[in-house]
Symmetry: C2
Subunit: 453 residues, 2 copies
C-alpha cells in the first residue's frame, strides 16, 4: 500500500502527527507495536497523574491536620485504583482508535522498520506488510536506561514501567534517581504510607531545576521524614531474601521492599532499520535538522530525537511535521519555550531560561522573586513553602520557575509571558483574578530585581 | 495636615491606590473606619477561600469514594478553622499596616467624610481631624443589600458577614440567592455535612453566568441532594422557636437552622459628605467618567462606583488612579477584560463576552467548546462534569467561560488570550503542558465552531 505519510510509533508525537496529517488531507498509516498512547499514556504521565489525583485528599488532610484544623483518615484501595487506571487507559486507547478511524488513518499493528527510503516493513500478526510512502515520521519514543548493576529484575528491583504495574504498594521504597519520574512516584508511595528513601549521584534533588527549587523540595521531603541521600553512587541493586538490596560504592547496604530505578530514559532506535536509509545514531538519538528531518523524506519527532523528553514537546513537533509534509509550512521548527512540570504537592514548574545557566550574569540578566507564603490560596491549603522566580534579560521576561502547592497552574500563563517576552509595562495589561495563586506570579514579576551573580 | 492624596477606605481598591501613589512619591493618607483589607479580606473572598481550602480534602475524598477508590472520613474542627481564619486575617492586616508604614502612608483610623472640595474630616477616637488634599479617592466599597422582609436578624437569619463569623456550622441551611457568594458558602456547609437548600427568584443558579454553566452547576448540586428552588419569590424570613423560617410568596414555609441571605451588595455611600462636593447618587453608586473621576479632584474606585463588584477590578482601578494623580498617565481607564471566578469544586471562570449576550448572533459570532470528560486531570480527580466554551468575534477570541473541577486555573491564560484577541493561528505559538487541565482550554479553542444562534 502507498501512503503520503507513514508514522512509526503511536505515542503523543506519532499519534498527533498522524491525526494532524490526516486533517491536512493526507493518506496516513500509523504503525504501533504495542499500545497506542505510548509511554505517556500507558506507562508514564497519565497513570502517575491518576495516582496523584486519587491520593490528593491524603495530602490535603495532612496539611490541615498539621494546622490542627482537620483530622481523620483517608484510605486508598490500591488494587481498586489500579483497576481504575487500567480501565481509564483502555478507554482512552479505544477513543484514540475511533479518532483514527474517523479521520481515515490506517492503524497497522506490529513492529515497523525502515527498508530503504520510502519503504516500511511491518511485522504484523498476519505476517510482514510492506508500506510505501514518500514521507516517514519516526516517533518511537524512549525507554528506561540503566547503568551496569542497576538493571531491574522484575522482583524487588523495578523500573518505572514495572512500578506502575504493581499490585500492592510496598511498605518501604528506595528510589534511585531524584528526577521528576522518581519524585512523583515517591510522593504517591509516601501518601500511601511507604517509608521513602531517595538516592541521587548529584548533590541535590531534581538536579535539572534551579538549585533553589531543589533546596525547597528537599526541605519538604525532610519534613516528611524521607531519607534523602545525595552525592551517593550506587554500585548494585538486587533481590535478596524477598527484599530489594542496594549497595553503595562505599560498600554500605540499604534494604527496602521495593527499589525503583529511575535514572533516566534513552531513545528507542533498535531494530528500526535506520542503516537502510543512512541514519547513524552515534549518540543513540536520531539527529535532526532545523526542520526535524533526519534524512530525505524522513523526520523524527519526540523523545527519539533527543531534543527534549516531554510529551507536549513531542505533540508540538508532530503537528509541525504534519504541516511541513502537507506543504502548509516551510519555516524551520520553532517550539518557543517548552514548559516542564512536576506534579503532586509540592509541584514544580519551569519555562525558559534559568538563573543557573552560564553566561546569564555576563548578559546583565536580573532576577526577581516572590514567596508563596504571602499568597492567600497557599495559606488556604496550609502549604506556604515555595516561591516564584523570574529571570529578566534586557528588560524582558526570559524565564520563570516556581515550586510549591499548585504552582503547575502558573505554567501556561508563564509560557505565554516568556514566549511574548513581556516587559514590566505589559503586566498592567492583564487583570489577574483575586484571590488566586496566579497573583504570586504577578508579585514575582513586580518585585524588585537584582542582578544575576 | 495637607496631602497629595487622601483615600477613603482601606479595601483592595483604596489600599492599592494608597500604596501605588506612595510608590509614585506622593504624600498619602489612608482613612479606614474598620479593618484594613475591607470586605474582601475580612468578610468575603479570603475567609471563604480559607474555608474552601480547609475542606477540600472532604470533596476530593468524596469523589474518589464515589469511584470506590478511597474510603475514610475527614473531620474539620470548625471552631479551630475559625480561629485559624481570625489569626490569618489579623496577620494579613498587620502586614498591611507595616507596608503602609514602610511606604510612609499615614493610616488615619476613623470614619471619613468629605467637607467640601479638598477637605476630608475624620471622626477618630481622639476627635475630629481635618485632612486637606488636592485629590481624594473614594473607595468605600459595598455592603449586603436586602429586600424588605429579607433583613437579617443576627439570630437564625444571617447576612454573609454574620455567616462568616459563626461559631458552629448549622446542620441545615437555606441560602437565599444563588450567586457566587451564596454558592461558595453553601458548598462549605455541604462539605461540613449541612443539609442545603438554595432559593433564587431567577430560573437558574448563578444567573449572571452562561445558561449552560448554570445547568452544569445544577446537575452537580442535585447529585449532592441539594434542594434547589428556582423561580421562587421569598416574602419573608425570621427566627421562630430558635429556627430560621422562610415564607415564599405562595405562603409555603421552609425551615432550617440558619437562613443565609445573599441577594447582592450595594455601594456604601451614606455619610460620606458627597453633597458637599456636588456628587449625587440617584442610582446609589458614585458615577465616574472615563478616568474614574466623580468630581474635580475626586475619584471613585471599586464597588462604590458600581462598574464591577470584584476585588481585583478595584485593585486595578486603584493602581490606575494612583498613576493618574501622580501624573504618570493621562489615558482613559482601560481594564481590559476582567475575569470572574467561583471557587470550590466545581469552579466557574468567565472572562470577556458571553454567548447569551444580545447582538452576538447579529455580529456573526461563533462558539466552540470542549468537555472536561476527555481531560486526564479531570479524570484523575474523578470530577469530569463541565466544559470550556469559547466565543469568537470576527475570527478572534472574544470570551471564554468554563465550569468544572479546578477550572479557575484557566482564568489567567484565558484573560490573556481574550485581552490579546487571539486568532486560531496564535494557538500554535504556545506549547501547553501535558497532561494539564489547561489542555481543555486548548481543546475548546481548537474545536469546530458553530454560529451563535
Amino acid at each position: 500500500m502507498t501512503y503520503d505519510l507513514v508514522v512509526l510509533g503511536g505515542g503523543p508525537g506519532g499519534f498527533d502527527a498522524a491525526v494532524a496529517a490526516a486533517g491536512h488531507g493526507l493518506k496516513v498509516a500509523l504503525v504501533e507495536k504495542g499500545f497506542l498512547g505510548g509511554t505517556c499514556l500507558n506507562r508514564g504521565c497519565i497513570p502517575t497523574k491518576l495516582w496523584l489525583g486519587a491520593t490528593s485528599a491524603i495530602d490535603e488532610l495532612h496539611n490541615q491536620a498539621r494546622m490542627k484544623v482537620a483530622s481523620g483518615e483517608v484510605v486508598v484501595d490500591f488494587p481498586a485504583l489500579q483497576a481504575r487506571v487500567t480501565k481509564h487507559l483502555a478507554g482512552t486507547r479505544k477513543a484514540m482508535v475511533m479518532q483514527l478511524g474517523k479521520l481515515g488513518v490506517e492503524l497497522v499493528e506490529g513492529m515497523g522498520r525502515l527498508a530503504g527510503q520510502g519503504t516500511v516493513e511491518v511485522e504484523t500478526a498476519d505476517g510482514t506488510r510492506t508500506l510505501t510512502s514518500a514521507n516517514v515520521v519516526i516517533a518511537t519514543g524512549s525507554k528506561p536506561i540503566f547503568f551496569p548493576g542497576l538493571e531491574p529484575d522484575g522482583e524487588c528491583v523495578l523500573d518505572s514501567d514495572m512500578f506502575l504495574a504493581m499490585k500492592t504498594m510496598p511498605a518501604s521504597l528506595i528510589v534511585v534517581g531524584a528526577g521528576f519520574i522518581g519524585l512523583e512516584m515517591a510522593q504517591v508511595a509516601h501518601r500511601l504510607g511507604a517509608r521513602v528513601t531517595v538516592i541521587d549521584a548529584m548533590d541535590r534533588v531534581a538536579p535539572l531545576e534551579d538549585p533553589e527549587v531543589s533546596a525547597a523540595l528537599l526541605t519538604i521531603f525532610k519534613r516528611w521524614k524521607w531519607d534523602v541521600l545525595l552525592d551517593k553512587r550506587v554500585s548494585g541493586v538486587r533481590t535478596a531474601d524477598g527484599q530489594g538490596e542496594l549497595t553503595l560504592d562505599t560498600g554500605e547496604k540499604l534494604a527496602a521492599d521495593i527499589i525503583l530505578v529511575a535514572v533516566g530514559r534513552g531513545p528507542t532506535t533498535d531494530g528500526l532499520g535506520l542503516e537502510t536509509v543512512g541514519i547513524a545514531t552515534p549518540m543513540r538519538r536520531i539527529e535532526v535538522d532545523d526542520r526535524l528531518r533526519a534524512a530525505p523524506g524522513i523526520h523524527a519527532v519526540g523523545d527519539v530525537n533527543g531534543i527534549i523528553q516531554l510529551a507536549h514537546a513531542a505533540s508540538h513537533q508532530g503537528h509541525y511535521v504534519a504541516a511541513l509534509v502537507a506543504g502548509k509550512t516551510d519555516a524551520p521548527y520553532d517550539s518557543g519555550p517548552v514548559p516542564s512540570v512536576l506534579y503532586g504537592a509540592p509541584e514544580v514548574m519551569r519555562v525558559g531560561r534559568m538563573e543557573s545557566e552560564v553566561h546569564l550574569a555576563d548578559e546583565g540578566c536580573e532576577v526577581s522573586r516572590a514567596p508563596l507564603a504571602a499568597n492567600p490560596m497557599a495559606q488556604a491549603h496550609a502549604a506556604t513553602q515555595g516561591f516564584v522566580k523570574v529571570i529578566w534579560a534586557k528588560g524582558r521576561v526570559a524565564g520563570i520557575t516556581a515550586v510549591g502547592h499548585d504552582v503547575s497552574r502558573l505554567t501556561t500563563p508563564a509560557t505565554m509571558i516568556v514566549r511574548q517576552g513581556w516587559t514590566a509595562d505589559d503586566l498592567h495589561s492583564i487583570v489577574f483574578p483575586h484571590p488566586s495563586l496566579d497573583e504570586s506570579l504577578l508579585a514575582a514579576l513586580q518585585a524588585g530585581r537584582t542582578p544575576v551573580e
